[in-house]
Symmetry: C2
Subunit: 336 residues, 2 copies
DNA sequence: TTGTAGGCGTTATCAC
DNA sequence: GTGATAACGCCTACAA
């Protein structure tokens, strides 16, 4: 493995000049710069991360903290964060925290061996003040994706109420007036806006809010199954259900099938996330696609430059067979 | 951040003694060792990875190369490899390669900035000799998960024929004689054994092999849709379909629904992988669970010690509503 | 614009 | 058993 000195020798310059070229500093003569670049290519030189880390007292690593549940959103986030980091010459190390219910091993999990320069914290941990304080105490700059509570760290704001309104408006436009909601587990998280949007859309359409039609789930398949079972047993059952995640929507769908309801004729179903799953159930799910890669880019930028960029994210309403009756398979390859 | 010298000063020993304690070398007196351990705890000292990397000329990092498609298998593999590495004091960096069809950017993708000490290569790349040679040329030790072709690197052998036989036997025991197969895309990969097992089980039961009933898919949902469409149009249609992945099985299932076939009454369906998806479609899929974490552990061991451990892996047949008629939701939380 | 000295926190080598 | 001393490859000063 060639070192900076090998390059310097071959190019006939001091190693500091090579370092300047490598780091893109402007103060290098054109001819020297070219000689150095040729030598670098010749030798296939790549700077040693370890040496840079040691000398610069920076790791060039961004930590990413995600839950172990909810694969598709995580996978998308991991991939998006990784590629955003790479563009900036950084690496990612992902810390996957077991999250079952509310019982997870907080700050202790976070003794990153790699000593990241900053950490990006995804939901739901981005709203756990104790957990975040533990990170802050380690002196780590923190970026919270979709943070809503009062806690240490920069926040990448994500607002889901407007798109949720549009989704419910879509259901209302189809003629539904009894619309159930499988809501997010806890009020203290960004996803609560999905419920807020639901209520706003109903109100705007002059439909009374019926608390019996709102049941909180746990973002898992099982939560959807349970919630819809309960709803369908009501004297005035819903004719449409909006689940706050695709996993829960899949539970709603499966249970509807099991109970013999036809979708969307007897019961319309909509989800949230546009997980791969959404296209693989039958009928495919109407849902909302999150701008994950934009969010990831903003988070990485904030992590590296200690400043949240000013951007607004564009969610997308995706209408499929589970609501509008146009029963086609979605055969596109899933784009992360 | 305390250094080894801070610890040494506090403990009143030379920093080399501290290093000996940290690295678990036996040649340290009992009293000194305890003094050092106390000092380490006192200061919350953790050795700097960067410095170790630089001095030892090792990165303590294992590279993992996975395709971008097929989320659940990847996610499980990533998590399993990461935790196996952590147990050994190593880190992982995952390189996700875009793989659509056969057109991926091979060796170029692999200039790991982190200079891993070894790389673990998952399917399908583990059977691409050119690709692997590119890695080998970089001087990287290679571990191939489920490698079957002749190529550089150690191989973690995975055999899927026996469990495939059991799966098809299960279908035969239910009375099926016309059993279709949505086969893996290419013969040159470990998953081909799924087809081999299919044929072996049919032969053992005295059922003639009908090439019309075997259609190769691409491991994606769309492949399952296409394959089953073709099969169901045959003069003598199958009454059961074994798809070589859960994604394809989901395609089979969705298309069966769309065409009005009842599952499993009109058509039984089975998959492979036990992806989260398998429990979220209706009816839930009969499938095969891969021992991913055992495989990952073996691979990590091989990567670190340059030697493949002698282990055999235990696949598991999981029977659900898509074949046996016991139509229950599987509500367990997915265990990676 | 270019080059030199010193140090970052470990491991490895060799004395004691 | 224990402890100096020299690397490891690069960056940050400062000097020329």
């Amino acid at each position: 493995m060639p070192t900076i000195k090998d390059v310097a020798k071959l190019a006939g310059v001091s190693f500091k000049t090579v370092a300047r070229v490598v780091n893109g500093e402007p103060s290098v003569g054109k001819d020297l710069r070219e000689r150095v670049e040729v030598a670098i290519r010749e030798l296939g030189y790549r700077p040693s991360l370890a040496a840079r880390q040691l000398a610069a007292q920076k790791s060039f690593i961004i930590g990413l903290i995600v839950p172990r549940a909810g694969i598709s959103y995580i996978a998308r986030m991991m991939i998006a964060v990784a590629s955003a980091c790479r563009e900036q010459g950084y690496q990612v190390t992902t810390e996957t925290i077991d999250w079952r219910g509310d019982n997870y091993n907080a700050a202790e999990s976070l003794r990153f061996a790699s000593r990241p320069d900053a950490v990006i914290v995804a939901p739901p941990f981005c709203n756990d003040a104790v957990f975040l304080q533990g990170l802050a105490d380690q002196g780590l700059p923190i970026v919270r994706i979709a943070g809503v509570t009062d806690a240490p760290g920069m926040v990448i704001p994500v607002h889901e109420a407007p798109i949720s309104i549009r989704l419910v408006e879509h259901l209302i436009a189809l003629g539904h007036t009894r619309i159930g909601m499988v809501a997010p587990p806890l009020p203290i998280r960004a996803s609560e806006e999905r419920l807020v949007g639901y209520r706003a859309a109903l109100a705007a359409a002059g439909i009374a809010y019926d608390p019996d039609l709102v049941i909180r789930g746990d973002f898992n398949f099982a939560g959807g199954v349970r919630a819809v079972t309960e709803m369908l047993a009501l004297p005035q059952r819903p004719t449409a259900v909006f689940a706050a995640s695709d996993d829960m929507a899949a539970g709603v769908l499966a249970q509807a099938h099991k109970l013999g309801f036809r979708v969307p004729d007897d019961l319309a179903v909509a989800g949230f996330d546009d997980a791969p799953l959404a296209r693989m159930v039958w009928p495919p799910l109407t849902t909302v696609r999150q701008p994950v890669s934009q969010i990831a880019q903003a988070a990485v930028h904030a992590a590296i430059h200690q400043r949240v960029p000013e951007v607004s994210f564009q969610h997308e309403l995706i209408i499929r067979g589970s609501t509008n009756g146009d029963r086609q398979h979605c055969l596109d390859i899933y784009a992360f």
